[in-house]
């Protein structure tokens, strides 16, 4: 036991004396969460649009006022002919042009139908989509207003309510994702690097020719990173609560336990990587390419899994991050208990056992 403590102590020396790793360890989570929280967002806000009003009557004025009054759009410019539409888009001044047909009010009252044309700049499809939806919604609500006193015999009214994230704040979606990525990165990459560093510097040779047992070396390497990852998880949760006002609906205790489980999963992956790579660089490349990319792309963090092609959906099942994000969203946003996420928890635990068993099998007690 004394040997083991001595080993862990040495690991802490390594971490605290390497300023760069320390910076990665503690700077990155804060930078990422702030970046994702503030800069990278799907919400639209003050989007510049242009209006081409061919009819210019009371109704179109009313609609334009409604749009201008919302915080989502600001009307940059009024245009007067068809050709200008192309020009404003090309200049990149606006992201959408709203075209009202001629005799809008007349058509509406006489024929019960009038047309408005929404043209969006779809170089950024997500934003274009959101703009279309927002404008349609505003016009839709206006239509309901003027129809208030009219009675249709059959009418289907759709009312939607966004639960768990009523304001559709994208930061709520990013927090679980960022937390997953950071825990993965810190745990897997840092452990794999720290083990391969011993190989590269030749100190592994001395450690092997010593009475230290392989599991003492591995567990000794891992313990400091468990500790640091927990601190990171706490920092992320605190940031999201106090800066982004994200409510944690579920039990903090369950959240902590699940996080520790995922940290151990990532660490076991890190150990596995270190057993197959001989240099720190290889370990880093495998961690970044083999873990980070799939974690970002296939975990459902940024792109919804349901809208992926089937083969990718199947592959996403072997990404531990996918399950952890489901668990995190469940606890943080829906406030569910273990009863609803036991399956995901079990999958993570199973993966962890598998990785550990594989690394123990692959760990070399000799040089070849």
């Amino acid at each position: 036991m004394k040997r083991f403590i001595g080993f862990v102590k040495k690991e802490f020396y390594h971490i605290f004396r390497d300023k760069r790793s320390l910076f990665i360890l503690f700077g990155m989570p804060i930078a990422q969460i702030l970046l994702f929280g503030f800069a990278i967002t799907n919400e639209i806000n003050n989007v510049d649009i242009a209006i081409f009003d061919k009819s210019n009557d009371a109704t179109t004025q009313e609609i334009i006022h409604k749009i201008a009054a919302s915080k989502y759009f600001s009307i940059k410019q009024h245009i007067t002919n068809e050709a200008e539409i192309e020009t404003v888009f090309q200049k990149g001044k606006v992201l959408a042009v709203l075209v009202f047909e001629k005799d809008f009010k007349k058509n509406l009252t006489k024929e019960n139908s009038a047309k408005v044309h929404i043209i969006t700049d779809a170089t950024d499809p997500n934003t274009a989509n959101s703009i279309t939806n927002y404008i349609s919604a505003i016009i839709g609500s206006y239509r309901q207003e003027i129809n208030k006193n009219v009675n249709f015999e059959y009418q289907i009214e759709t009312k939607s309510r966004m639960v768990y994230n009523p304001e559709l704040k994208s930061v709520f979606m990013f927090v679980p994702g960022v937390m997953t990525i950071i825990l993965m990165l810190v745990s897997a990459m840092m452990t794999s690097i720290s083990i391969t560093r011993e190989k590269e510097l030749g100190t592994m040779e001395i450690l092997l020719v010593s009475p230290l047992k392989p599991f003492q070396v591995i567990v000794g390497k891992v313990i400091p990173y468990i500790f640091l990852s927990i601190i990171n998880a706490i920092v992320i949760v605190l940031l999201s609560i106090f800066i982004f006002k994200m409510p944690i609906q579920g039990s903090l205790f369950l959240l902590a336990l699940e996080s520790v489980l995922f940290i151990i999963t990532s660490l076991s992956l890190g150990i596995l990587i270190s057993t197959v790579s001989a240099t720190q660089q290889t370990a880093m490349m495998i961690s970044l390419m083999g873990l980070m990319l799939p974690t970002i792309l296939l975990s459902g963090f940024i792109f919804p899994i349901a809208s992926m092609p089937l083969p990718l959906q199947i592959i996403s099942n072997i990404i531990p991050a996918k399950w952890f994000i489901i668990i995190l969203k469940g606890i943080m946003l829906k406030g569910v208990g273990l009863y609803f996420i036991w399956k995901e928890t079990l999958i993570l635990a199973g993966m962890t056992l598998f990785f550990i068993a594989l690394s123990v099998k692959k760990y070399k007690i000799r040089l070849e």
Binding site: K2, E205, I206, L367
Partner: protein, 300 residues
């Protein structure tokens, strides 16, 4: 026997790193593996320290088999690899404490053993190991390899890259350790260090050329060696190689070492040959045979 190696062979892909090597090291002996880079010294060390499996043959260290009892061996040997393998970001004292701890001992417990060596680096005990000079790094590495009082000490090229003064000190330390009953297996590419061992094995291309007391090895050298010097050493070398009676010619420090095929060789004759070839300041003297000469002869 402290170390016993029987018919060990080991190859990497197509290279025969170690080829049917056998030798024995007595308890308390200072045994040297002498050979150039790539001779297979490090591979032998790694097999004996249980880091590699041999393809063929058996070996025991301190009475333990290197394959079956590898755990015992790892408790009882000290190993200093060729590359400096300590933690550069830890201080001198932290490194030593770390190695003491993982071997289940403390610095105080075995301080007596490392005292001679450690006192020299103790003034720098709070300095990071990475900031030490080459000689001090070696002393620290040796201290770390000794801190658990090993029965057998493996030193793989401990003096490579170390200045001559530190090298000399290092060998004096080895002599003192030997008196404390520790068996030492040391490898070196420096032939002058070979004379300081009790016995040496000359090794090249994975094969042992000869094993003996360094004095004996020199005694058995068949002919007389001449130190030859001239104004232009390179031209001299070429001229000697062309000389029809020459047996071996190779540069040796500031001289060229020369041996002749004939039993009744007369240096005067060679002098005339060289003068005829326009060499100036020619000097020909009989010299003492060194281990390097023996090695060159055996490796021929």
């Amino acid at each position: 026997m402290s170390i016993s190696v029987k018919n060990i062979s080991k190859s990497f892909k197509t290279v025969n790193a170690v080829d049917d090597v056998s030798f024995e090291v007595k308890e308390g002996e200072l045994f040297g593996l002498i050979g150039p880079d790539g001779a297979g010294k490090t591979t032998i060390f790694r097999i004996l320290t249980t880091l590699l499996f041999a393809d063929k043959g058996t070996a025991t260290v301190a009475g333990f088999d290197v394959v079956d009892d590898f755990k015992e061996i790892r408790n009882h040997v000290g190993y200093m690899p060729g590359k400096f393998s300590l933690y550069q970001d830890l201080t001198v004292e932290e490194n030593l404490t770390f190695f003491a701890t993982i071997f289940g001992t403390t610095i105080e417990e075995n301080y007596e053993l490392i005292k001679d060596i450690y006192v020299q680096i103790e003034p720098f005990k709070n300095r990071r190991a990475g900031a030490l000079s080459g000689g001090m790094k070696q002393k620290l590495a040796l201290s770390c390899a000794l801190i658990h009082k090993p029965k057998v000490l493996f030193l793989d090229e401990p003096t490579t890259g170390v200045d001559p003064v530190s090298r000399k000190e290092f060998w004096e330390m080895l002599k003192r350790l030997q008196q404390k009953g520790i068996t030492i297996l040391v490898s070196t590419p420096y032939m002058d260090e070979a004379a300081l061992c009790d016995r040496i094995a000359l090794i090249q291309h994975g094969k042992i050329l000869q094993i003996d007391d360094p004095k004996e090895i020199v005694k058995h050298f068949p002919t007389t060696i001449y130190d030859i010097k001239a104004a232009n050493i390179y031209k001299l070398l070429l001229a000697l190689k062309e000389y029809k009676h020459s047996y071996s010619v190779y540069p040796f420090g500031e001289f060229v070492h020369y041996t002749d095929k004939r039993e009744d060789f007369n240096p005067q004759e060679l002098q005339q040959y060289l003068e005829a070839n326009n060499h100036q300041n020619i000097k020909i003297e009989i010299t003492k045979t060194t281990i390097e000469d023996t090695f060159m002869e055996l490796a021929k």
